[in-house]
């Protein structure tokens, strides 16, 4: 399996606080890596650094064999490195279809088109409807997002980047606020229907991470303390003490 993302020695400080301290790991093509760790472990900062919303102080990011350092978020997206945010970051006034179509048009290279707009709009709407159908939300396609339930909005939020067919998708708490059944369904869609997309998944629900990911990565206070298969990580004493033990109690 070839690697899609290589991180080496990533450091980032906010003032005196080292939020990321020598973080390095790989994500393989089509692989799902779960990222767990207590609040303040640096998970969201790591996402921001990988996707270019923040600069690292030291270390290198390679994506699909190419150096990503210094590229803007939009340039990284164009290479297939896409993210979601911790809270649903949708266009509340637009319909579910239009939310996803916004991504689909950009992927098709039509994002800034003016002439021959009807064809571009129709193609994007088709992509959007296909994704909504997979998720069982096609009946909500024409509903503005402010009229959707929190769970439905969260699902649309995760469907948007899928319209970009990313090589690596970073999901920040995609299952927060979803029921267990909804979460499993969403992860099932990601893993089955979009198997070519590698995932880096942050979730507080450990069962989701252990149930759907190929490998699990544990962070604490800005450092990666363990990385391995779900079974290995579950057995690790240090992880149990640092994280699982706390979560289980």
């Amino acid at each position: 399996m070839s690697t899609v993302l290589e991180l080496r020695g990533i450091r980032r400080r906010f003032g005196a606080l080292a939020v990321l301290d020598d973080v390095g790991f790989d994500v393989g093509e089509g692989e799902a890596v779960g990222l767990i760790g207590p609040n303040g472990a640096g998970k969201t900062t790591l996402f921001n650094v990988i996707t270019g919303f923040l600069r690292q102080d030291a270390g290198s990011i390679r994506f699909a064999g190419e150096a990503m350092d210094g590229l803007s978020p939009a340039r990284r997206v164009a290479r297939g490195l896409v993210r979601t945010f911790q809270t649903a970051t949708v266009f509340p006034g637009l319909t579910a279809r239009e939310n996803i179509a916004m991504a689909a048009r950009q992927h098709a290279g039509d994002g800034l088109r003016w002439f021959a707009a009807a064809r571009a709009n129709a193609a994007a709407a088709e992509t959007a409807d296909r994704l909504l159908e997979e998720a069982g939300l096609l009946h909500r396609a024409a509903t503005p997002l402010y009229n959707l339930s929190h769970g439905e909005r969260r699902i649309v939020d995760t469907l948007m980047p899928l319209a970009l067919s990313p090589r690596l998708l970073l999901l920040d708490e995609p299952t927060a606020g979803l029921t267990r059944a909804e979460s499993d369904r969403l992860l099932g869609i990601l893993r089955r229907n979009h198997a070519a997309t590698a995932l880096l998944l942050v979730a507080h629900d450990i069962d989701i991470v252990f149930g759907h990911c190929d490998r699990v990565l544990v962070m604490e206070l800005g450092r990666v303390i363990r990385i391995g298969t779900p079974a290995e990580v579950r057995e690790d004493a240090e992880v149990r003490r640092a994280y699982l033990g706390v979560a289980a109690s």
């Binding site: 970051t89 509340p92 637009l94 916004m102 950009q106 039509d110 707009a117 970009l164």
Partner: protein, 307 residues
């Protein structure tokens, strides 16, 4: 729309036939300002980019046209070409300066760039006439056909308004216009989807500049004058006021706003010195009672009537 168009065409023809010269020029000015306000609506209504320098694009193009006309005559196509080029070029300059900033910074930077245009118009006397502005323009013409009378100017302004409206609508419905709405609603997500915020906004700025420039091209011929007040930031603010009175985001509301504003200015100032007070009151009442402008008020009435 299909039923509105013939009615509007009939109304335009009737006005052109029946109205006197003063009214025709007045209506032509409303139409031109309406187009300028509509172009501003692309920035504010779709993009959430509050510009206090839009009069610099509109009036700057008018100056460029007046200067060219005094040298090369008033051919309509040359005038429109000059106005659109000047409006687009000024918009490009303004866009490069302002579009990397947000919110209040954008407001101030549009204001500063706009005021720089005013400084040039006011101080570069040899070219712009300074505080006196420019008068004595040649007649507007098209391949030797004189278009200087009020009726022809009104009809040209009406045609321009229709063309600009359909262009604005097609822009708003296109991916570029939708992306602009996206950058207003959720800029962070737009970058996360791979859009360049600058590219999206810059494109809108160019379209708005070209449209304001086209309207500005006719302004000196309708008013028979162009002066520095046309590019002052208070004129930019007046365009924003017209937009709010008419209705942000509606596109056609700009024409209503321009009509209300110019109506108050022209007819009220005939019998009271306090017309600015009236503009202010109408404006504040609109913001307090009809935050989406008269256009949304009319739409509500129509929906209620249909229900």
């Amino acid at each position: 729309m299909r039923r509105v168009l013939p009615a509007a065409a009939a109304l335009t023809a009737a006005i052109a036939f029946a109205a006197d010269d003063f009214l025709l020029r007045f209506l032509a000015e409303i139409l031109l300002l309406g187009v300028a306000v509509m172009s501003l609506d692309l920035l504010i209504g779709l993009g959430g980019l509050i510009s206090l320098g839009h009069a610099a694009l509109f009036g700057g193009a008018a100056y460029a046209v007046a200067i060219v006309a005094r040298q090369a005559g008033g051919d309509l196509l040359l005038m429109l070409g000059t106005g659109i080029t000047a409006g687009t070029a000024l918009a490009a300059l303004m866009g490069v300066v302002v579009l990397r900033s947000g919110h209040l910074f954008l407001l101030i930077l549009t204001l500063l760039t706009g005021q720089m245009v005013w400084e040039v118009a006011f101080h570069w006397r040899e070219v712009t006439g300074g505080a006196d502005g420019l008068r004595g323009l040649p007649a507007l013409s098209l391949v030797g056909w004189n278009l200087a009378d009020a009726r022809a100017l009104f009809l040209i302004a009406a045609l321009l308004a229709v063309a600009a409206f359909s262009i604005a609508r097609s822009f708003a419905a296109s991916p570029a216009g939708r992306a602009l709405v996206g950058t207003r609603e959720q800029p962070v997500r737009m970058s996360a989807l791979g859009y360049s915020l600058f590219a999206v906004r810059f494109r809108a700025m160019l379209v708005a500049g070209a449209m304001a420039g086209a309207a500005g091209a006719l302004l000196p011929f309708v008013n028979l004058y162009i002066g520095p007040q046309a590019v002052h930031w208070t004129q930019s603010a007046a365009l924003v006021i017209m937009l709010v009175i008419g209705g942000i985001g509606s596109l056609w509301g700009g024409f209503i706003g321009a009509a209300v504003y110019l109506g108050i200015q022209t007819y009220l100032s005939a019998w009271t010195d306090r017309w600015q007070l009236c503009v202010g009151l109408v404006f504040v009442l609109t913001v307090l009672l009809l935050p989406n402008g008269i256009a949304s008020g009319l739409r509500m009435i129509r929906q209620r009537a249909a229900a």
